[in-house]
Symmetry: C2
Subunit: 287 residues, 2 copies
């Protein structure tokens, strides 16, 4: 982050062995595609004293295996670690955190002691950490929101307004809930910081890469051009494929995620994708 200095009390190293030497906690903040390899590299170090717990800040769904990243981590570390892996998630643009603007996030772990240990590690007056026990729900909310943010970007790019964006956020949230609950997460989790909170920030911010990617598609760019123009990883691009596969696997209807998938992977024109969404029958809201 340009313009910010890292506190001198923090030691930096690019040597994994040095970083792990006596580490009480491991905090994983790498692109989602690098989580498995990073965990494997740490395990291969066979640290003399294993850390007390792991915190995942990366989240998403692994391509192919369709595993959420905390399951990938358990897959590498072993089932015995399930209770000592937590996720930290919520609406938290890094630059605003660095500027000490008030921010709230969720620390989720199956055991409350671990969630509270993560809370103690990170909580500050202007970086407020709430504990949670639904690891799967918190991770799915954080991962799937990126797909809905692409749809919101497309709508904004087509010149639609606040009403349309709010509709996509709300109906998109309903899709995330349907899939999450089918996979074993709890509905209430998605009303929280890692659900609604993160979705709102990502889908309304023109700084969001996923939103930008959607806007680029609406401007007529091909998928490759739209990605190149963003120039950084667009997590929702891969997640749209995983969401499509998971929806099929669990027999869940996700029309907005499906429209995003079709635009990206089947070359469906953006206008047609929107028309499909608008020509659906409107039934009961909670159906």
């Amino acid at each position: 982050l340009e313009g910010f200095k890292i506190d001198p009390s923090i030691a930096l190293t690019s040597d994994l062995g040095e970083a792990m030497d006596g580490a009480q906690a491991v905090v994983v903040v790498v692109p989602s595609t690098a989580v498995r390899a990073t965990c494997e590299a740490i395990v291969n170090l066979k640290p003399a004293r294993p850390p007390d717990f792991w915190v995942l800040c990366s989240k998403g769904i692994e391509q192919g295996t369709l595993m959420p990243l905390h399951e990938v981590t358990i897959d590498v570390l072993g089932e015995a670690w399930r209770d000592r892996i937590g996720v930290l998630s919520g609406p938290s643009h890094a630059e605003e955190v660095a500027r000490e603007l008030p921010t709230t996030v969720t620390a989720a772990a199956t055991r409350p002691e671990v969630a509270e240990a993560i809370q103690r590690l990170f909580h500050r007056p202007r970086f407020r950490v709430y504990t949670h026990d639904d690891v799967l729900g918190v991770e799915l909310g954080a991962g799937l929101k990126n797909v809905i943010a692409i749809a919101a970007g497309v709508a904004d790019g087509l010149g639609f307004g606040d009403n349309t964006r709010a509709a996509l956020i709300t109906r998109g949230l309903a899709e995330i809930v349907r899939l999450g609950v089918a996979m074993g997460a709890r509905q209430e989790t998605f009303m929280g910081l890692a659900g609604v909170g993160d979705l709102v920030v990502t889908a309304t911010s023109r700084h969001s890469r996923n939103h930008c990617f959607g806007e680029n598609l609406a401007r007529g760019m091909t998928c490759k051009e739209a990605l190149d123009e963003v120039g950084m990883v667009v997590e929702g691009y891969a997640t749209a494929k995983s969401a499509h596969d998971l929806a099929k696997k669990h027999g869940v209807e996700m029309p907005i995620a499906e429209a995003v998938y079709s635009m990206i992977y089947d070359g469906l024109p953006v206008g047609e994708a929107m028309d499909r969404l608008l020509s659906r029958e409107a039934g009961a809201e909670l159906a």
Copy 2:
């Protein structure tokens, strides 16, 4: 709405008797403080053929009685009308509806036939009406969101960022849910268009009067100056008082709504109100 023509097939009148002559449905779209008087005026007309159903587009909580407006309407019309009163609500800036930008709303009534009749009356491809049966939840979501939007306006006015606004929206939603459930509404309702959807539009839009009012307070205006500068009805101003009274009555914690109440009615400085919110203990997210 400037620049838009009303379809010539629509007959206009300012004569209530003429409007009610043979009317199949009554659609009430007046400021929330005028709902009781308007309903009374219609009832006093004693129309020869009573309408099949009523649709409330005004929503909020009546000062003093603390009745939601659909209960006010029932109070005037009589209990026998409970099943024939519906509410129409959702993220729908009027100007965007007039421009035919895709919009979604909820039609709620205790009887599905009534909700579906309202749906048939209003549904268009670009004005999508979903049915619902939780009249109280839909009305409370629409009313209480305005108080949270004031808090979001204050945060934006103080120069806080997207993270803070998302935190207020999410934690504010949790407060609305707590009060709504205590009053008999259903939790899921607040995840829908009349909850999350409407809250997102109102709390993120700089065109929202409630948001503007909050921004004005943050700039150091007195409450009266802040209201005068907006120049139109700020629904959240009165609702903050009702929310305060309802929270007390039902024994529900609503720290954000309470902070807004204190800024407006107790003259609490905005900076201090924000500090109070930030110095609260952060516990479990779902507590």
